[in-house]
């Protein structure tokens, strides 16, 4: 506060830091730089007891300011980061890693690679062991860049074919990249964590060289090992892999079932539902209905024609067969209180009709069956379609009228 007349070094630097923070929050980078230049002398009095010490603050704040302020001068940025590296031994690898990220963000892939390689060879007594995690990350990202090189060379080869001596060296290099990448990527994904990018790349490598078993193993581990955090993407990758290799429906369904549990609104649920509907097994059809209803619980799917058409198809089938109405009843039970307001208002009817006839059609069918022919949605749509004289709606109307009792039975 401005009334504070007592001023010592520590307090003075705290106040200075607050000015820096204010300036940064207001994106006044030049002002922030100015105050930072006065703050840096706290390095000479680094109270390392504190949780976040001045050198870390200077590193982070300085990076931010240089990103915004240096007019894209990488040289300035690099020189700053090099100084930061020499100063904080305990943070050395972290700084290297973030530096590499920054270089990558600026498209300087080779520089980033050099940095990571240099960092990999760093040894500093017991610090090396303490910073083990960062080291693994550095190796992983270097592996990633190796993969990137491999990928480029692969594309070259594929374009120009495998003949010719110049291609031989490319090929050899490609293989060497593969080896380097594989070693590092394999290491990192052993550690519980979220490694989507590394996993994908590693699997890509394995698949290319024909090691499907290993790939399968890796993906299964990644998806099912309970030590790893729950990650929907893991299941997606596994599913895609299995699909690519023509695995059985059973295995595909079991993977997607877990994905449905994790993320009911996932886009793969449409495929899942289609798969399940096709099945002759009763349990699977039942699951399919559950899946598609769950998808449409989410606002993101409200206007999705495909989703509605899936639901409509199943509902229609059940209505025609007059079998398993209890399935619909079960699903509708928890939804009848809020779906009408969520999907089937008069307003939505108007909007849907204006936006997309197909959407109206599918929704109208569902509404008609679930809420009866007298519901707002159906009435509006059939009225409008009558005016517009669209053929399929007439058929729809007839259908709904015919199966009106269904609504009575499920409500």
């Amino acid at each position: 506060s401005s009334q504070e007349h007592k001023l010592n070094f520590k307090k003075s630097k705290e106040v200075c830091l607050r000015y820096i923070q204010d300036a940064m929050l207001q994106k006044q980078w030049k002002r922030a730089a100015e105050f930072l230049s006065f703050y840096v002398e706290s390095l000479e009095k680094d109270f390392s007891r504190e949780y976040v010490n001045p050198s870390e603050i200077i590193w982070r704040v300085g990076t931010e300011i240089l990103c915004h302020c240096s007019n894209g001068s990488m040289r300035e940025f690099n020189s700053f980061i090099e100084q930061m590296k020499t100063f904080g031994v305990k943070r050395y690898l972290k700084v290297c890693l973030e530096h590499a990220f920054h270089l990558l963000c600026n498209g300087l892939i080779d520089d980033a690679y050099q940095n990571l390689s240099l960092a990999e060879s760093w040894r500093y007594g017991e610090q090396t062991a303490i910073q083990d995690k960062e080291m693994k990350l550095i190796q992983a990202y270097r592996g990633l860049l190796d993969y990137y090189s491999w990928s480029k060379q692969k594309n070259i080869l594929l374009e120009h074919g495998l003949d010719g001596f110049e291609n031989l060296s490319v090929e050899q290099e490609m293989h060497s990249c593969f080896r380097k990448a594989a070693v590092n990527l394999k290491e990192i994904i052993k550690i519980p964590g979220v490694w989507d990018l590394f996993v994908k790349c590693y699997v890509d490598l394995l698949e290319f060289y024909g090691d499907h078993n290993e790939a399968h193993q890796v993906l299964t581990e990644y998806a099912y090992n309970s030590k790893f955090p729950a990650n929907p993407n893991a299941h997606v990758y596994l599913y895609q892999f299995l699909k690519r290799h023509g695995e059985s429906k059973k295995s595909l369904i079991s993977v997607l079932k877990i994905l449905h549990d994790l993320v009911p609104s996932h886009e793969l649920m449409i495929d899942f539902n289609t798969m399940l509907q096709k099945s002759k097994k009763r349990k699977r059809c039942r699951l399919g209905l559950e899946v598609i209803f769950a998808v449409l619980d989410y606002a993101g799917w409200k206007e999705n024609v495909k989703a509605w058409s899936c639901l409509a198809r199943q509902v229609k089938q059940i209505a025609i067969a007059e079998k398993h109405l209890d399935w619909i009843k079960q699903e509708w039970n928890s939804r009848k209180d809020w779906w009408p307001a969520f999907h089937f208002t008069h307003y939505l009817a108007k909007r849907d009709w204006k936006e997309s006839e197909s959407l109206s059609y599918e929704k109208a069918l569902v509404a008609g069956i679930l809420l009866g022919k007298d519901c707002k949605y159906f009435k509006y749509v059939s009225h409008q379609s009558c005016k517009a004289q669209v053929k399929r709606f007439r058929i729809l109307k007839k259908f709904v009228n015919k199966h009106n009792p269904v609504y009575l039975r499920i409500s």
Partner: protein
Amino acid sequence: DFNERCAQCSEVNWGLTDGDRFYCRSCHNVTERTREIVNADFASNARVQTVSRGLSKKEKNDEGCEWYVCEGFQLVLKKQAEALETLGVCPQMKDEVLCNFWRHYLQKTKQAYCNRPVGEPIKALSVCDSSTDVDSDPGRPSLLHLLSLSESEGDLQTDCSFASSTSRISESTSVCSGSVDGSLYLLKNQKDKLRMTMPMTLSFCYMALLWLREPMTLADLLRFVVEGHIPYLNVFQLFPEKMKLCGLDLKIFCVESWPLYEEVYSKMLELAAFLDLPRFPDITENCFLHPDMLCMKYLMEANLPDELHTWTCRVVKKTCIGEADFLTLVPGNKSTRKVKYDVLAVAVIVVVLKLLFLLDDHYEWLLSDFAEEQNKNNKEGGPYFEFKKWYEVIKCSLDVKQNKLDEERAKYLWRCEMPLFYSAKNKSRVFKRRQMVVNLQNQFGKLSGSVQPAEKPSPSSFQLTWSEENTDGSCFHRHSLKGILQEKCGLLTAMNPDYWLCTVKLCTEKSCGHLAHYKEVNFPQSYHFVLRLFSFLLRIQPSYIHDEVCVIEHKLFNKKLCKKPKYNTVIRK
């Protein structure tokens, strides 16, 4: 003490030669008189080790010389006095007053001019001495303990190697400090002696200024220090090359905080008492430090009408705070409350403002409107003073200045080019860091596009100035108070008949250190505003001014307060 006049020059200015004879410092006349060595302390102090001759002959590796801590302080004081001279203080201050105070101090604290011969070095106590003497004295903190209490422990604990060393005593002294007696200095039992510190140098200066009744208040002095006109921060830069500073010297000579008014003031009082100084020269009516004069100064600075001066004089007279006996410092006299001249003066102004404007967040605005009305009809003569206009002008300026000050505080640079290090081992690391800091400063300084460090503001007694020439009417000095006064029996009195006391009862300083307790929320905003203004000018907390206001009020309304207390604290004048 030898107080005879010198035979040759009649001065009383004695020193001791190596042979323990008295000599006159003014004319260098050596007498035959010697000092008898009687010092019970010395004989009974078994802990004092015998002096090792080897130490005094030992040359420092980096061509430094031997120096004592008090020599360092002497140099500091000299530089400060020189700076004050540049600021306009009379040369007497440096050459006579301060000098003598200092010598007197050295003598009293037995650091010099006493029977321990100056030439022989004092041996620092070694921590690694296996004797149990150090531990057996509960009153004497161990060196390590002392150091761990410091702020600068970050470097010192890791870099000072003596903790584990079993080296000889002479070696450890050179590691511990550049000065000969640095470690001893910090270890001394301070119960009955005033150990010299950096803030105390300012106490010395102020004491000398007060003795000479120089026109510089303590608030001014401290402000000049902060603004860099008087050496304080990084003052060791002014030490000669040969005086090497390292290790524990840093704890003594490096400051990491600005000195507080209270601290410097109370130390000065202690010092004056310790040195057995007599009554200081009288503060009379034509002295700068007299409330009548200081009130004038602060009224001008606060952009208040000159006419208020008559009122401040009246208050001063009525409360008898203009008496020489009240104002003059008598060291050692514990019964009288000591006067802070600057705080007193602004407190008087605050009381006057309360008398005339009440400052209850209501009346002053009414009065202002009233004056405004009158101003419409008042075409000849000067305008009447309107509180509202004054408030607006002052608030604007004050906010701007305050913000500027806050930013400056955030930008203080504490370190200087001369690197400091605790031990030789630490040296390269310190240099490296210094280099890095300079690089970063340059890099970000360039980015910010700002000009290199702002010039020191030229020293001025006034922080706020108001010019008559401004046609925007922002100067209120010539404004008349007629708009808010009324005539009664041929005299002009305040229209305001009421007064509220800041506190009904004064606390005792002994129990809580304060006479009153100021909390912004408990008082009207106008009152707080006025406190804030003077708090800014003096660079002290508003509560100090508030305390003083309470005291003056109690003096002023003494008679009324002695009567049976009324239900409310509003007093009818």
